[in-house]
Each structure stands twice: as C-alpha cells, then as structure tokens.
Symmetry: C2
Subunit: 225 residues, 2 copies
C-alpha cells in the first residue's frame, strides 16, 4: 500500500540500463504481478492462472508474491479489483453516451454484458472471487462510479418506485439479470438464434427487451390488465 512514488524513484535511480523494467530488488512487484496475471488471463485463459505462472511471467521466484499478497486468492482478488474498476468505467461511459435517459438503463445492461463477453476470463475471476471471499462490497465500491449510477438511470428513465426499498429491489433485479445474461450468452445452443437475430448484440438486446425491470407502479399496471 505504501508503494507509489517512492518505489518508482528507487526504480529510476538505478544504472544506465535502457529498459526501466528490471530495476532493483524488483521495483514495485505487486503491480507487476497483477499486470502479469491479466496478461496470462487474456492469452491462456483462467485455468492457466497459477501463482507460479504469474511469478514466472513477472520474472521472479514462486515465493516472491508472498511478500505482497498473503495468498493466491489475494492476488487474484487484486486482478479482479482492476476488472471491477474497468467495468464501472464501461458502465459510466455507456450512460453518458446513451441517446436518452429512457434507453440509458438498457445501454448500461448491454455495456455490462459486453464487458463480460469481451473479458470472459476476467469476469469469471471477478465473480469467483466475489463469491468465495465475500469481497463483493469492496468491489462494488470500486465500480461505484458506474454501478452506483444505475439507480439514478432507472429514475431518469421514468420509473416510479413506491419506496426506497422498491428502488433497491429494482436495482438488484437489474443486476441479477445482467449477470445471468452475461454468463449464459456464450452457450453454444444459442448460436442459431444469434445468427437469426443478426449477431450477438442483437440477441442480447432481444433478451433484455423481454426482461422488464418493473417498479411497483408498473407492476401494478401490468397486473391490472
């Protein structure tokens, strides 16, 4: 945690070697390890993401990471945290770029699912860590720039929740839905359907269109007919 400018200075002052890469004791390893982890995740998939492989990729011994993370899990959690931050950014971007408040909620959902699909291994780690270590709260905070805006987007879209609890439930429902679609959209058996609808995003939008996020008022309305 105390390794920002200080270690970078250390790194810089060492010798005339052209690469700033392998500086001193190491430099700031924790960051390098997380980066190495992501590299492996993208190139070799989540099953290849072993502590030893990460250390190898970072050019250190298998025991080195233990001076920065108490666990393999803690390392993966750090990788996951980066993912949650990026997911939050993607959501925030989707909201500001939405054509109108009315479609912002859908666009957020699409962006969420797209992120999960473009970083499947990362998303898997993100969720696995959240479940195993119950670190969801902290991670959700990391992505709060994005996820925290969902409630506002829902309100801006014209939903009329009957209470704060109602709004909270709407938010949870939306989140669950996005997660469910994100995890299932890759199934092979949907291949034909995707093609028929003109691509994966079209498929995602079609499914999303069939899941209404309902406030209490809208629900009452529907039930009434």
């Amino acid at each position: 945690m105390a390794d920002d400018a200080t270690t970078i200075q250390k790194t810089a002052k060492r010798g005339p070697s052209p690469e700033p890469a392998k500086p001193y004791h190491h430099g700031d390893l924790s960051r390098a390890l997380v980066a190495a982890g992501r590299r492996i995740l993208e190139s070799e998939g989540p099953d290849a993401l072993s502590l030893r492989a990460v250390a190898r990729e970072a050019g250190v011994s298998p025991a080195a990471p233990y001076h920065h993370f108490k666990d393999k899990g803690e390392l993966l959690d750090a990788v996951a945290a980066e993912g949650w931050r990026e997911l939050g950014d993607a959501i925030a971007r989707a909201r500001t770029e939405a054509a109108s408040p009315a479609v912002a909620v859908t666009e957020i959902g699409v962006a969420y699912i797209r992120f999960a699909r473009e970083n499947p291994a990362l998303y898997r780690i993100m969720y696995r860590m959240a479940c195993d270590r119950n670190t969801m709260p902290e991670h959700a905070k990391k992505a709060e720039g994005g996820i925290g805006q969902v409630a506002e987007a829902i309100l801006a879209a014209g939903a009329q929740p009957t209470s704060a609890l109602d709004l909270q439930l709407i938010q949870i429902a939306a989140w669950c839905t996005a997660h469910g679609i994100a995890e299932m959209v890759g199934f092979k058996e949907f291949e034909d359907l995707k093609e028929e609808l003109g691509g994966e995003e079209a498929f995602v939008r079609a499914v999303l269109a069939h899941v209404g996020i309902l406030s209490g008022t809208a629900r009452a309305m529907l039930q009434h007919t």
Copy 2:
C-alpha cells in the same frame, strides 16, 4: 454405458457378506464414484472435490476412475448430470403444486433458485461444467421434464407471444434471470435486506416480482404508457 443390470448381477452373486458394498473387482465403480463425489461436495465443498479425494472416498486407487471416465472433468460432468436431473424434478414438482397457472412461472423460478441455494456446491459444478465443456444441451435435456415445461407454463399464465421466436426469447430471459438471482442471492451485502423482508425466500420473491418476463404484447403495452 453397458453397466446396468449386468454389473448388479455380478455384485449380487458374490458371497454371504451382509453389505452389498465392496463386492468383487469393485462392483459398479462409476456409480460409486459419482456418489462419492456428491458426498464430498456436500461435506467439504467444491474445492475439496479432487479426483484423488473421490477415489479415496470410494476406496480405490487414484488411477481407478480412469477406467470409467476419461477425465476428471467427465466425472464431474456425471455428478453435474445428476444435479440437472434433480433440478428438473424440482421444477416439475413446483409446477404441478402451483396454486394456479398464473403463479406457476414464479413458483418455478423460486424452486430453481431454492435448489441452487440448497445445493450451492452442486449448482456451481453444474454450471461450471456446462460452460467449460459446452455440455449444456445434454444437461438441459436431462432436466427437460422440468425446463421443457417452462414455455408451457408461460403460455398457461396468459402470456401472448407474438411468435415462436418471441416465446423462445421469453424462455431464455426467464432462465437467465433465475440463474442470475440464484448466483447472487447468497451475497452477504443482501443480508440486511433479507431480514427486513422476512427471510431469504421473501427476498427472492421480491426480486422476482421486480423482473417482469414480458411477451411482445405486454412489452408494447408498457411502452405505450
């Protein structure tokens, strides 16, 4: 696959030992291995579910399973298949026991989520195997007694899909939603909310109530206001 009545006969004809357990060469190991797997899953969690542990639990050498499954994955897949079958049963039961067709869809969702919550380790394996090995189609068929009824339940509830594709999308949406809730309902941060609503099932029903599964017609209706 050729081990049904035949092996049971072998098992039966052997000696006066009171337990039918440890019969001959082994008996029918594949079944015993799957059972051992489930036992470990329930008592020690999914991380303890190693091939060697399963073999140990079944009382055979670590190499024995390879005569019945080509892989660790194939063994886990067999465990998962059992899970899908049971999930199918649970869904079918929920449908027939529903007070009316109108609430059957919700009851199916509740049953799905309850199953996942009561067998978290099993459900995890089920999904992991479905994703990794793309064996979802076969598994879905195993549960078809239940899952196949979802479309009928939706229609019986009075939904008016505009086309076969519309109905299919409704079904997928429902499935994604159930999966999403099933995986997220255990998060610690929802603890307070669950208590406030009077228990986990009440929480699940509340979230489900906020996710409307919409047919094309209902969707148009909502949009219209």
